[in-house]
């Protein structure tokens, strides 16, 4: 059900963006891990006290757990892991379908004995595989660096769960961008929905964290389903995971259907 030449070409097309995001993630993660120091934690807290509460809250810098996992959950999974992969998925998702229709190169793809559903499925699979690659890399590097610097300190299971949550979150966000890409004929509209909505979600998430008066905003953003605090403390997060999974499946399916059925201005 997948076109090998197409997925290879898409992979090549987005390789540079992918490498840039991987580089950024690989830069921040080890640095943050290395900043962890039970003693240093106190001095760090002193520094943080300088900033206003709201500002810190917006960036997710209000930890509950005080071990390595909690530290990483706060400083890496509070914001960076929300933002960086999203930049990749927004760009890549738009390029998978809408960009080809916009430019007209989709005509060439459709001039081969390849069904529309096969094309859309191939591109969706590409997104899923590359997100998994990104997250997998982060997981592996995170564990390795932690073991190197603080052997035995990292709650590995918890860390894996954290990454699983991030994975599902980005599956859904990419699903949204993919759906936009399948539905619209040009990059402009595809990005309006496919970039606009995820970014809006992120902003709402940040605002909702600022204080009690804005807390209600958390119902308007999908980021709420990824809660590092809940995951690291072991509270019920399975349901959120399931919801994200279902949302992702729905969005990809809807995208594929939309692309199959509609008229294309080629």
């Amino acid at each position: 059900m997948i076109s090998k030449p197409l997925i290879k070409a898409t992979f090549k097309q987005n390789l540079i963006v992918m490498l840039i995001i991987i580089a950024a993630l690989m830069l921040y993660l080890p640095i943050i891990i290395s900043m962890y120091n039970p003693d240093m934690q106190d001095s760090l807290n002193e520094v943080l006290e300088i900033f206003p509460q709201q500002f810190l809250a917006a960036l997710g810098f209000t930890a509950v757990r005080h071990d390595l996992l909690g530290f990483v959950a706060t400083y890496f999974y509070g914001f960076l892991i929300l933002l960086l992969p999203m930049i990749f998925t927004i760009t890549a998702a738009n390029r998978t379908i809408a960009s080809h229709v916009d430019k007209g190169s989709m005509a060439y793809l459709l001039s081969t004995p390849t069904k529309r559903s096969k094309i859309a499925i191939t591109q969706a699979v590409y997104l899923i595989v590359s997100i998994s690659l990104l997250t997998g890399l982060v997981t592996v590097v995170g564990i390795c660096v932690s073991q190197m610097l603080y052997p035995g300190e990292l709650d590995i299971m918890g860390f894996i769960m954290l990454n699983l949550g991030a994975l599902l979150l980005h599956y859904s966000l990419a699903g949204l961008s993919f759906f936009a890409s399948c539905t619209f004929n040009d990059t402009k509209n595809s990005l309006m929905l496919g970039a606009g909505l995820p970014v809006a979600f992120l902003l709402l998430q940040m605002l909702s964290d600022v204080g009690e008066s804005t807390e209600f905003l958390k119902y308007f953003t999908i980021y709420t389903l990824f809660d590092p605090e809940k995951i690291t403390s072991g509270e019920g997060y399975i349901i959120s995971f399931l919801i994200m999974g279902v949302v992702a499946i729905c969005l990809y399916s809807a995208g594929i259907m939309a692309f199959k059925k509609r008229d294309l201005p080629l």
């Binding site: 097309q13 190169s105 081969t112 004995p113 390849t114 529309r116 294309l264």
Partner: protein, 301 residues
Amino acid sequence: MPVIEISGLTKDYGNHKGIFDLTFQVEEGEVFGYLGPNGAGKTTTIRHLMGFISPDKGYASILGMDCRMQSACIMAHLGYLPAEIAFFDGMTGIDFLNFMAEMRGDIRIALRDKLIDMFNLDVKQRIRKMSKGMKQKLAIVCAFMHDPKVLLLDEPTSGLDPLMQKTFAELILEEKKKGKTILMSSHSFEEIERTCDRAGIIRQGNLVAIENIKDLKEKRRKTYLITFDSAEAAEEFKKNNSFDEIETNGATAKVSVTGNVATLVRELGRYNVLELDTESSSLEDIFMQYYGNNNIDGRMQ
């Protein structure tokens, strides 16, 4: 059974734009010219044949398969040359050809290379850096290199220099000998004249005529510009002759003749003619002939 079949095909975009109740067939081994000005509906028709859009009414089929529902099956036997060339950024010519061959699951290196040679194509160049003519040639190679039974060519010689246009016409005639079925759209009568057996003329979404090329040529009105040696000679010519239209302007006469020019040539033999030139009839002129009057003998199919 016709290879390409269009019946009652209608797609209304509002404001009189679209195609309306198109019906025609292309038989196996036929080269069919599809003629019309920009915006007439040629590309819309081809989009239906390619399965890019669904009609409001009617259907289009190729090799007995529905163009929208069984598009992928049809594509195994079809070569397509779009009017607007849009390839994949970042690829070289040969990368693109390899990619397309893989996507088709049909790799014929010998044929591909023969076509590359025939059109003098530099395939190592990056597509982004190619001139329009180069891109057009690349598109031609891409459409023909898997030896498809059916070919849909939308304005195939656009961007080609006259030598390459001739080469392309030779390619079409070669393919015709192999029994291929070709539908070629254009807004240049001269282009269609060279290679097609029959031509359909579309205007504002309606098919106004389908004729054999031979008949079209006979019915076509050509305009000649003749420069005599004096204004008096021109006036005399005008007085003594009655062709479709004679206009004089000083020593120059503009004469329109339908069909056979033997009479004109004979008459001109009586004068001292300094220059003889043809004015290629615009598409509008041709259409006025077919759309504006009833010279078709009711031969619309």
